[in-house]
Amino acid sequence: MQTMSIQRKKIHPHKYSLWIAMGSITMMFIGFTSAYVVKRSQANWLAFELPHIFWLSTAVILLSSLTIHLALKQFKERNMQRYKQLITLTAILGVVFAACQWIGFTQLRSEGLPLSGPVSASFIYVIVGVHMLHVLGGVVALLVMFFRAYRTRIRTYSAVPIEVAATYWHFVDILWIYLLVFLSIAR
């Protein structure tokens, strides 16, 4: 039986699509951050410190990048038990990350900086919130992978899905580091 290998290609199309999608997401955040820069140069910009819990969430997401990297390694060595544990752990860390961001929001609110407050605070909510949604999207993808790994009827041996998920996960991680550095410097 002929398979897809007749198509001449060097890199799996799904991975390729992911890279373009990451470019697209990057453009969206460039849109947000350049709006931030424009607003910051105008009058009545209120500077304040970021909630400290954002540093904790940074540690969490860095750790989750490590766990998904290990998960990918275990998958390639076909240690399915370890693989399942590691992607579960990654997904949990993703949720913890989102929870930390949420706590950050409540801290901001308690400091008198609600979403409808000064525009510098509104930007934090929107930028961090949209990033959080992207992380949660990754969590959903990991859940799908998780149930697939438990499926007995069809078994997949292709590492492409987990590779795509891992690349995306590192991407939202790096994106967060960029946002954190950006928001800390450009206050």
Binding site: Q2, M4, I11, S17, S24, S34, K39, L115, V126, I154
Partner: protein
């Protein structure tokens, strides 16, 4: 899940293709739903985009007829208007609110739903896999999703036409504060929320589609199909997708901030506003910020509209004049230059917003630079048909018409690109005339050329030529009659978007001209309905296609069977040996891309 499903279906296609050598009853059984509704076949998705686009085009064009009635005959009453618009046209006269809703929706529908989704959605889907030699898109499932997101966006936009407070009416650019404050006008209420929801879905659709187009072109080309052997259509779809993928997300971020301003009480765009004598709490916002975010998409958007038309026109002109395209690499280079410059000129939409004149000077320079690649393209089109053996099919007529309108609309772009002339001309009918000719009419001509040319590939039948000629000539003459006079109105300072000019003595001189324009609009609209009739009639009753390659073209799509199958080629994917423009070479009319180079022949 998705990728497994698609891989599976692709394998099935290929398995089927390999197993049955000859193919007359399809490769595997498909239900009505999987064949016509949630189809994964790029050719079916292309038709879905096209027909949805046609429906939208009729609605959008009909809106222009309605508001042209008001502009041309401001004192007349049309009782039938009340029967279709109800209280929006009390006594047979369109109310100002309805007028603004109609112009806003006309712009939104034509720019996004017809000329973006209907044009590049249709032809990128149809032609990319066929012309690069792929079984289907990189991810057929995402491609299917792309259409259905577009369909959802269409439903939401359609619903907004029927809400009690009417659709969004602050202009298709949705500038705040009119779009950000529900109390600002009747058209700022639920209509805007639905507009933003619909557009967010639309952006998702464009991104899913764009990702697929790019990765298909870069990864799934047939053996031998190097980038420089690709037809210009594929190059144009490629750059279109790149523009879309990089600029639509920025628009989305602008919309997210706008939604926050509407519903979460933020002040991104709002500052010191009084409504009904009451001061709002918002402070520190900047309405100009929205304009930056909007036009960072908005300008690439006009190239998203025009590039596919350019690509198809290049292809059709070469085929119909039986000559190789002149300056293939210059054509690719100029597409690339346009693609880069598209991101660097957005502020020329904002010259009079208080933009720093020093900064404006750079945007003037970059804007005028676009004239260079555009002129290269025009020169190459003209030299391609120069002394050619031109076959005047409807497709080639529309392509030549495209070149004409692109020149006459492009030249006025040089006027408007100058920030000092723009002080006088901004927001006048001159602008309307410019962009309607250069991106409205031209893009439609490119789209018509594409439809007439590739209709046989889509449906295995031809469209009626006589109706095609009538369609072309009346549309060409009509388009110039509609938009040419608007230049004079604009130079006289007549502002756009106004409901009624009759109270203005200085513009009374144009009342006859306005009547003339409105009269022509009705005729041109009727001729477009003739085209729609031709289209649907020909699907079922058109002259049947008897040969695989009716236009004697070199490209790969004409090597597939007359009645397309999922997987495109029944056997192996053909190998490509030469570029797509070997017409009238070595005493032969054309040489298909699949034919190996002869012993005494050098590749292009």
């Amino acid at each position: 899940m998705s990728n497994e499903a698609t891989l599976h279906s692709q394998q099935e296609v290929m398995h089927g293709a390999a197993a049955h050598g000859h193919h007359d009853h399809g490769h595997h059984h498909e239900s009505f739903i999987s064949k016509y509704v949630f189809s994964l076949d790029h050719k079916m998705i292309a038709k879905q985009f096209l027909i949805t686009g046609i429906v939208w085009a009729i609605i959008g064009a009909f809106f222009s007829v309605l508001f042209r009635l008001q502009l041309g005959y401001p004192d007349a009453t049309f009782p039938w208007l009340e029967s279709i618009l109800g209280h929006w046209a009390k006594g047979g006269r369109i109310t100002p609110e309805a007028y603004y809703a109609l112009v806003t929706m006309h712009g939104t529908i034509l720019v996004f739903f017809v000329l973006t989704a209907g044009l590049s959605g249709t032809f990128s889907n149809l032609l990319i896999p066929l012309q690069v030699g792929a079984r289907d898109m990189a991810s057929p499932f995402m491609n299917c999703l792309s259409y259905w997101f577009f369909f959802l966006a269409s439903l939401v936009m359609m619903a907004s036409l029927f809400v009690q407070t009417g659709p969004a009416s602050g202009g298709w650019t949705m500038y705040p504060p009119l779009s950000a404050l529900g109390d600002a006008s009747i058209g700022s209420k639920m209509g805007v929320d639905l507009w933003l929801t619909s557009m967010a879905l639309f952006v998702v659709s464009q991104l899913l589609g764009g990702l697929n187009y790019i990765s298909t072109i870069l990864n799934m080309r047939a053996k031998g199909m190097s980038m420089t052997k690709m037809p210009l259509t594929i190059w144009s779809f490629f750059f279109t997708a790149v523009l879309g993928v990089l600029s639509f997300p920025v628009l989305l971020s602008g919309f997210i901030l706008l939604l926050m301003d509407r519903h979460a009480g933020t002040s991104f765009y709002l500052s010191d506003i009084f409504i009904a004598g009451k001061a709002l709490a918002n402070e520190g916002g900047s309405a100009i910020l929205y304009q930056h975010l909007f036009w960072f998409l908005g300008h690439p958007e006009v190239y998203i509209i025009i590039l596919p038309a350019m690509g198809m026109v290049s292809e059709v002109l070469a085929v119909s004049s039986r000559k190789p395209i002149f300056g293939y690499l210059a054509m690719v280079g100029s597409l690339f230059a346009i693609c880069i410059l598209a991101f660097l000129v957005w502020a020329h939409h904002m010259f009079v917003t208080g933009l720093n004149p020093f900064l404006g000077a750079f945007f003037v320079l970059l804007t005028l630079l676009i004239a260079v690649p555009s002129a290269i393209k025009v020169f190459n089109w003209l030299t391609t048909i120069w002394k050619g053996n031109i076959h005047f099919t409807p497709a080639s007529l529309f392509s030549i018409g495209f070149v004409s309108t692109f020149i006459s609309g492009g030249l006025t772009g040089i006027w408007l690109g100058n920030s000092s002339i723009d002080i006088h001309l901004h927001d006048t009918y001159f602008v309307i005339a410019h962009f309607h000719i250069v991106m409205g009419v031209s893009a439609f001509f490119g789209m018509f050329a594409g439809i007439y040319h590739w209709f046989p590939k889509m449906y295995g039948r031809f469209m009626n030529n006589t109706l095609g000629y009538i369609h072309f000539w009346i549309t060409l003459v009509g388009a110039y009659c509609i938009f040419w006079p608007m230049h004079y109105e604009g130079m006289a300072g007549m502002p756009r978007r106004y409901f009624d000019y009759s109270t203005w003595t200085s513009f009374n001189q144009f009342s006859g001209l306005n009547q003339f324009i409105s009269f022509v609009v009705i005729i041109v609209f009727a001729v477009q309905l003739l085209f729609v009739f031709n289209f649907f009639y020909s699907i079922f009753k058109g002259r049947k296609m008897t040969t695989q390659n009716p236009w004697k073209a070199t490209t790969l799509e004409w090597t597939t069977p007359i009645h397309g199958i999922h997987g495109n080629w029944p056997g192996e994917i053909p190998e490509v040996h030469r570029w797509a423009y070997d017409y009238s070479k070595d005493g032969r009319d054309f040489i298909p891309q699949t034919e190996p180079l002869g012993p005494n022949e050098s590749g292009h």
